[in-house]
Symmetry: C2
Amino acid sequence: MLDPGEPKFRRRKADRPREIIEAAMAVFAERGFAAARLEEIARHAGVSKGALYLYFETKEEIFRAVVDLAIAPNIEAVRAMVVAHPGPLADLLRLVAERVGTLMETLPVGGVIKMVIAEAGNFPALARVWHDDLVAHILGALTDAIRAAQGRGEVRPGDPRVYALEIIAPMLVGLIWRETFVPVGAAPFDLPAVARQHVETMIEGMKARNPNSGEARA
Amino acid sequence: MLDPGEPKFRRRKADRPREIIEAAMAVFAERGFAAARLEEIARHAGVSKGALYLYFETKEEIFRAVVDLAIAPNIEAVRAMVVAHPGPLADLLRLVAERVGTLMETLPVGGVIKMVIAEAGNFPALARVWHDDLVAHILGALTDAIRAAQGRGEVRPGDPRVYALEIIAPMLVGLIWRETFVPVGAAPFDLPAVARQHVETMIEGMKARNPNSGEARA
DNA sequence: CATTAATAACTGACCGGTCAGTTATCAGAG
DNA sequence: CTCTGATAACTGACCGGTCAGTTATTAATG
């Protein structure tokens, strides 16, 4: 059963943190914070439970590491894209939709979002960080872009922050759908296709009917 | 400290289950299933922990009771509305938006949705019930209504199920927003207003550009 | 051999669930 | 109306299991 030539473990200090975070991401995403067992995370990472404490102080610190390191940079990239874009809103939205569509398939972002939603009550600090450093920025950037487009007469009146919510929501719900209902047999959504169709719906739905007007009542 | 005239407890068999479910809803919504303490639920309900077991067998049964009894009937009513409506899609959507807008403010549906999302990994059976008995029905009814509208040439081509997702998503995300980010200081959304604005955006965004066409390629 | 990554056995706190005992309530007797 | 015995709603201390975190020990590596 056990080859004596094979060592019982290897010393690989450099790779451990990343491996642990990846393992933790999987387990946290499936179980939620409270129900996740450190022993299961350790097993996933191919180490013993004690080894986790060589790299992290507490379970909560592992949780933060997962949330911080796995997702933030990518979402931040999307925000930067929105802020930088000067042209017509429709072009920007198509660009963002394409980018977000691929990100959703690449990153394990769905599980993390689920975690943040689920544990917001137990870790208000975490929810606050996510909101202040990430969600609010993205929503704010989009809101600004929409408001500017309203100023140029591209977009018809309406609360620009609500428009931003309308734009983002289906992607978010698509992710949650994948994490929550697909595993129990629900028909999946093709997320990039959802992003593409929705962006066209929104472009059409937000378009100013009367192309002059710019800066009508909100 | 203790008025001897005041009894230590009252016997109120009839009201207890409802009170316990309401208390449990609050605690589960805030903490999630695993992190919720039965003692806290009991305290909220104004009874001792032991009393919980006079009315429910296990913690999980309390959880099911919360999910089952609090929400399902109301959402079902919306579904029935969709199925029954024969007229133009735009009218139906405005009707639904109005109804859903008020329901969101009345019911504690946000907390329950959060719970279902959060605990889907630990209670696949619960997620399955919610999907099969509720979510799939609503999404299906909307999808059918949209497909019919496409057949009448009201709505332009596109996956009707994705359109249904686009319609529902902002309300859902609005609820999640309220539960997750508002408690940590985020600016709230006026949910009925979101519903109203979004339904107009969607009506415009789905409208067939070329009013004849009906039944183009999906 | 010295160093230290990693293990595995261990501890202590916590919590779901139980149950022996307590108390509110009420029916019937006086 | 008062007393009393019967009933069952309710309490709270307790138990057993689980799990985050600790530590004594082992073994990989240079």
